[in-house]
């Protein structure tokens, strides 16, 4: 959005204190109803505050310095944080899982974000953090969900249905023929959230980015154009990330002798 948009009404610290009353209401209800969530709620509210304020300072700093190496370093940090989150969630893991999740995220995020910023929006300079960072953030958030679900499903199938996969191998299936059913299921699972989001976007909720643009005074149709582009970008990023991670997991768990190495899969205890 243009920086000189006049429509945005600034929020003061006092305004935020008033907003915190809304969380307080939730806390009071939790105590009164003995739901037992008030402590978690307090921690979550505090985290929201601290994390976002820190983010704000970092972004202001990045925007002011406006230096390519710093922007790229920030991007790498975001990818690493997203990679950790993505690979922590699946109920099974294997040695080297994080690296593969990280690689899938990095490739999908860099590919889609730069396609959008360079080829579609045409930002100048190419690393303009005002565009690059928020777009990469959205891409990573969605890609990480897709990657996480894909890995969870794929490892679950390869572990729980080992007998069936080895049955196919025993009949002369190549590793690809034996694995493709599991991979197909995993990709479907990884793509489900973004497909659902695309199906209901605008019907149920106005997406966060579009809400932000409208609040900031952008004309609705302009916000809509951006949102359409963002949805397509997120679909592309999720698909690319899920496919790459599925491929990397497949190559790790099936060797050149067309054997399933199910013994590499570790179940998490929690």
């Amino acid at each position: 959005m243009p920086a000189n948009t006049p429509a945005i009404l600034p929020l003061s610290s006092f305004d935020l204190a008033v907003a915190s009353a809304l969380v307080l209401v939730a806390g009071v209800i939790s105590v009164a109803m003995r739901v037992g969530l008030h402590r978690q709620l307090a921690v979550a509210a505090l985290r929201t505050l601290v994390q976002l304020v820190l983010l704000g300072y970092c972004l202001e700093f990045l925007f002011q310095l406006d230096a390519a190496p710093l922007v790229l370093a920030w991007l790498a940090l975001m990818i690493t944080a997203a990679g950790r989150a993505a690979m922590k969630r699946p109920s099974r893991t294997f040695r080297g899982a994080f690296l593969r999740g990280w690689a899938a995220l990095a490739i999908s995020a860099v590919l889609t974000t730069f396609t959008v910023t360079a080829a579609i929006i045409g930002i100048d300079p190419w690393y303009d953090p005002q565009y690059l960072i928020p777009l990469a953030g959205m891409v990573l958030g969605n890609s990480l969900t897709g990657i996480s679900l894909t890995v969870d499903s794929l490892l679950e199938t390869l572990d729980a249905r080992r007998g069936e996969i080895e049955c196919l191998l025993s009949l002369g299936a190549t590793r690809w023929e034996a694995a493709r059913g599991a991979i197909r299921t995993a990709l479907r699972r990884g793509m489900t959230p973004i497909l659902n989001a695309m199906a209901v976007v605008g019907l149920v909720s106005i997406p966060g980015m579009m809400t932000g643009q409208i609040l900031a005074g952008a004309p609705p149709m302009e916000a809509v154009r951006y949102q359409i582009m963002v949805m397509f970008m997120l679909a592309g990023a999720t698909a690319v990330g899920s496919i790459i991670v599925a491929w990397l997991v497949y190559r790790r768990l099936f060797n050149d002798r067309h054997q399933l190495r199910a013994e590499l899969i570790e179940r998490r205890n929690d």
């Binding site: 191998l169 009949l171 002369g172």
Partner: protein
């Protein structure tokens, strides 16, 4: 030897625990060999190694060629393992029987009456073919998995407890089908806990206990069904 399955100085392990070593066996076409020995010895692990599903050390050849020389999928097409407890794939029983034919190594599927005849020989009603494979009994699944393997016409059949839990009548039918397949030139390695089965099959027996690896603890858990070797360690 041409036409034969030959194991020379083969060693197998499970989860880096040595089980068997210096195994030497040879099966000519039509031969039936029963592998006997106590639980946990490594009988299933040996079958998995021969099927190239797990790694092994030593030499395993068919027609003097190793699995690597055959290409692993082609090897497993020629040396088919029938796992314990009748593993069923998704879909109907008929889908299961056709599972070996949707693959890149596969020829055309067999005609339907071949399938039905085979099912009948195994004591299975042809109506079973249209049932969902996850709805049939364990005993039926065991026989369907044998039929699924026989339909791809392997050179060598590896059978892991093919009649465990079957009633005497079904056992007799399964044994007759195995004997007939071997009379047709297929050879079979069979693991069985039924002490009379080798005799009924007319099979030679090998007690694998004499190949127990130094340092193996045959009585220790996990059971042999959990066989899994780790990093590549077999000679090609």
């Amino acid at each position: 030897m041409n036409g034969s399955l030959v194991l020379t100085d083969v060693a197998v392990s499970a989860a880096e625990r040595p089980l068997l070593s210096e195994v030497g066996l040879s099966l000519a076409p039509g031969a039936l060999l029963a592998l006997i020995g106590p639980s946990g010895l490594g009988k299933t692990s040996l079958l998995r190694a021969v099927a190239a599903l797990d790694d092994w050390r030593g030499h395993i050849t068919l027609d003097d060629r190793t699995a690597a020389q055959w290409g692993y999928p082609a090897w497993r097409r020629a040396v088919v393992l029938v796992q314990q407890r009748g593993v069923m794939l998704a879909g109907t029983v008929r889908d299961n029987l056709a599972a070996g034919f949707g693959l890149s190594v596969a020829g055309p599927p067999p005609p339907e009456d071949t399938t039905d005849t085979l099912l009948a020989d195994l004591g299975l009603d042809r109506r079973v073919a249209d049932q969902q494979a996850d709805r049939i009994s364990v005993g039926q699944a065991q026989r369907v998995s044998l039929a699924r393997a026989l339909l791809v016409q392997p050179r060598v059949l590896l059978l892991d407890e093919p009649t465990a839990g079957l009633d005497p009548e079904a056992t007799r039918q399964v044994e007759a089908v195995i004997r007939r397949a071997c009379a047709g030139g297929m050879c079979a390695l069979i693991v069985s806990h039924d002490p009379d089965q080798p005799t009924r099959l007319g099979a030679a027996t090998v007690d694998l206990a004499r190949f127990r690896a130094p340092g193996s603890a045959a009585a220790a858990p996990p059971p042999e069904g959990d066989s899994a070797t780790t990093e590549p360690r077999h000679a090609r």
